[in-house]
């Protein structure tokens, strides 16, 4: 009984959270100017993509480089279902995730039997195959010229709520038995096998779930930009998600969101500074800043890997409890931000009220 009531309570808390985020998102959308709303929407989409990559690579240790391929599958599925089959948004959106998960199963089933590095190559290969297919099915997808006229559906509340749902599902997942098996596969595959973890099963499971959310993220991208082209979903799109995750910390859900914030907001800061300097007549500085982001991004990527490979948060999660403990009382020595416990353990399930957005 106790477990059941706690389950009901958690569902209730979650429903309240979703409602609050929806209301806040709608308020922001109506009150703020279009530019910050746009940045926040992109931020939520990026966070979903980073979270989905983090599940398969940060938690399960399978380095997938074909993530952009799954985004493309999701984006085109949702867009085409709405445009050609006249589906409403929500079913098309969910179908995009499911179809992407199915493709993830098709890709993962053969390739996850391969060890480590080969997986990244096979997934990368699949991404190129998917791009080639999209480029050549001109009648359906518009090919390399792109697919214009996708209905605009990814408003700020939609993106926020998707992010909250993604975060809720993933944080429950990684704190469950399955989640511990994912981490076990990452930590030591042979040891995990020897204690009875079916490693291939869990790798494929993680891959499918990750593809599902990548598909959702892709679908949101399509319904935000209202236009799709196969080369949007290139290798660099995957690298973008990778950089968000390594910045925040491989294996930290809130870290992925933090990373998404940095990687989405920093280029906007650079761009605005460039415009500012340009307006003040400092053309050279403006040009430098305008182009400087790309080099800065690459240097930051390398600097993190060399100086702090665990990312900003490592495997810790940002939680209200942690923040309160660290900053709650002035002048007191900060206790550790995470729950005490075995060093690699994930947190107890009832602490899932982390920073949600």
């Amino acid at each position: 009984m106790a477990a059941k009531s706690s389950f009901v309570r958690r569902i209730g808390v979650f429903a309240v959270e979703v409602a609050v985020v929806w209301v806040v998102g709608t308020l922001f959308k109506n009150l703020l100017p279009a530019y910050p709303v746009g940045v926040m929407t992109v931020l939520c989409i990026n966070a979903v993509l980073a979270l989905s990559w983090n599940l398969v690579s940060g938690f399960t240790g399978q380095f997938s480089l074909g993530h952009a391929g799954f985004m493309a599958v999701g984006a085109y599925t949702s867009a085409l279902l709405m445009m050609k089959a006249k589906w409403p948004f929500l079913p098309a959106f969910v179908a995009a995730g499911l179809f992407s998960a199915f493709v993830g199963f098709l890709v993962g089933f053969p390739s996850l039997r391969l060890a480590g590095d080969y997986l990244s190559v096979v997934t990368l290969g699949f991404m190129y195959i998917i791009t080639a297919i999209l480029n050549n099915t001109t009648d359906l997808t518009g090919g390399g010229l792109g697919l214009p006229g996708i209905p605009y559906k990814t408003t700020l509340p939609v993106a926020c709520v998707t992010l909250v749902i993604t975060l809720w599902i993933l944080s429950n997942l990684v704190h469950s038995k399955q989640g511990r098996c994912f981490v076990a596969v990452k930590e030591d595959e042979i040891a995990a096998q020897s204690v009875g973890v079916d490693t291939t099963h869990y790798k494929i499971l993680a891959f499918i779930i990750s593809s599902f959310f990548a598909g959702l993220g892709g679908a949101m991208t399509g319904h935000y930009m209202m236009y799709l082209r196969p080369d949007i979903f290139s290798y660099l799109k995957t690298v973008e998600s990778v950089s968000m995750v390594i910045l925040g910390g491989l294996g930290s859900l809130t870290g992925s969101i933090l990373g998404a914030v940095f990687i989405t907001v920093l280029p906007e800061i650079f761009r605005n500074l460039a415009t500012l300097f340009g307006g003040m007549g400092m053309v050279a500085a403006a040009n430098f800043l305008r182009r400087g982001w790309m080099v800065f991004y690459a240097v930051m990527f390398l600097a993190i890997m060399l100086a702090r490979p665990q990312g900003l948060l490592g495997r810790k999660e940002l939680t209200w409890e942690g923040v309160r403990k660290r900053f709650g009382r002035f002048g007191r020595k900060a206790p550790p931000t995470v729950f005490p416990g075995p060093p690699d353990a994930v947190q107890p399930p009832n602490s899932s009220e982390g920073v949600k957005a």
Partner: protein, 293 residues
Amino acid sequence: MRQLMQQLWNGLAIGSVYSLVAVGYTLVFGVLKFINFAHGSVLTVGAYIALYSVLRHWLPFPLAFGLSLVLSGFFAMQTEQRAYRPLRLKGAPKLNLLITSIGVSLLVENFLVVFVSADFQPFPRVMSTTPLTVAGMMIPPNDFLLVGTGLALMFALSYFVNFTLTGLSIKAVALDRDAAALMGINTDKTISLTFFIAGLMASAAGVLIGMKFNVNPYLGGLFGLKSFAAAVVGGIGSVQGAYLGGYLIGFLETLGAGYVSSNYKDGIAFVLLVLVLLFKPSGLLGKGTQEKV
């Protein structure tokens, strides 16, 4: 028949490029057991060095080619010493090396876009472009250089690795790094040397395809990945395998483009890769290894 001959020749030419780059992947994988995603960017760097040396009339083409080989070799060596070695000494997981190499390639691409030029630049004319007719095939002179360089470097490399003491030390380090160190081999030096050779061969490929097509910051991206597919198809860690995979992908790609559809040209290498990995994960010439506890 004539068309087939022509396609086969084209396959040989592009296959030489893939094998030159694939050998680099295989050598580096041999000694460090990780996929160097930055290898493709060494190819780009090589092409740019040769391009600018010729474009600005600093050097005549043969010298520019030589300079590009040596400098790219040093560049590859520097990436190893600055980026991978600190991680290796810290005992970081292999995944971190892989991610770092992605960062290196990102840095090279973005640096070239921002500080050099993002344009697609044609290589200045350094040799005749009129195709020669050999046995009914139209062959641009550049292709002779491509195939010739590919074969020459292939023989030079196999002589070096199999018959010189320094070359043998690479083999020894690939076989067992600790045992090699105990036998008095300076493993750090050997690893640097491996990167130098890999960079040199990639840069040869880069200059030659830069001449065949054009030079741009993303030159190494797709070529690098397809060459990597070639290395895995042949069996990563095996030098002969890299050549086999490179020429195989070159032939299949041109034949596929010629007889099936040129639209799917870029996909062929990866389809082959997936098929080979499914049926023989260690590659065509690779030896299967069982991971031990």
